[in-house]
Symmetry: C2
Subunit: 171 residues, 2 copies
């Protein structure tokens, strides 16, 4: 947890990039966050992008060191590890939404995998907050507000609709 590193500069954007500036870190966070993948094997096997096991291992370690992810034993299975997001990671929701919005606008996204981004984009900061509250309930054990009708569920539903309408592709 000690971060005795040397920073390139004190610029917020630069510091953020020193933590997140590679091609896998945010993908792993995305999978935990939106895909609710909490175990190593899940993250490894159900990864859209096919992350390699050593890279996943390395990223999970990094993310843990940076305080974005915590790791604990699953009480039911002694050998199974449970990865959870911290508040620091949950507050990346706006970053991921904007990144997704930009990708949707300018890159060759697939309909199935971008519908969730669209829902969050259209929902605006209010929906993001609801989603973040949900993540806090799931990952931090914060009691959920009763009025929340699961943004996660809403995202899954939108995804299913597109898949059912479209036809092909994995996911």
């Amino acid at each position: 947890m000690a971060e005795a590193e040397q920073h390139r500069s004190g610029c917020p954007i630069n510091l953020s990039l020193e933590v997140l500036g590679d091609s896998w870190s945010l993908v792993v966070i995305r999978d935990i966050m939106f895909g609710n993948r909490r175990h190593y094997r899940q993250l490894l096997g159900e990864s859209e992008e096919g992350i390699a096991s050593n890279i996943l291992s390395s990223r999970l370690k990094q993310l843990t060191d940076h305080g974005l992810v915590t790791k604990e034993q699953d009480p039911a299975h002694k050998q199974r590890q449970l990865y959870s997001l911290t508040e620091k990671a949950i507050q990346l929701v706006p970053v991921l939404v904007q990144l997704g919005a930009w990708g949707r606008k300018f890159l060759p996204v697939s309909p199935e995998l971008s519908i969730r981004a669209k829902v969050l984009e259209d929902g605006g900061p209010q929906l993001w907050e609801r989603f973040m509250a949900e993540l806090r309930a799931v990952h931090l054990g914060v009691p959920a507000a009763q009025d929340e009708s699961s943004v996660h569920h809403e995202l899954e539903q939108a995804y299913r609709e597109v898949v059912d309408a479209g036809g092909d592709s994995s996911g």
Copy 2:
């Protein structure tokens, strides 16, 4: 300009990371965008983070290939190249703002280098739009709306105030 690459997946976040997912690309864009650095030597020498010349060269080439940056000869100086942002890059403003906001909240930022992030964060989407309109005027030659009293100037002013009040650090 032909992009015959293989993509890891059609997910918007993943595709965005395939373009921007390294520690330098967004730093270079930040310098062009907020620091108004338009020439190679400027980007190289006035870089807070001390980017290496080969990395800068490689990133400018990549960014050009991805359609985020254009390069043209400065009419005044035959050998001088002028780098400009495209609309695709200008629309990264919300991403950079959110990334900066996150950095400000969780990372050891310096006051001088984070005041601009704070102003943009506090200004909200409306200010971002004004800033983007300004960038279009500067980089795309779009005529500026008259009511715009320069967000860029506002950011510079806020920066100067912090520097004058604070005292040390480079910038």
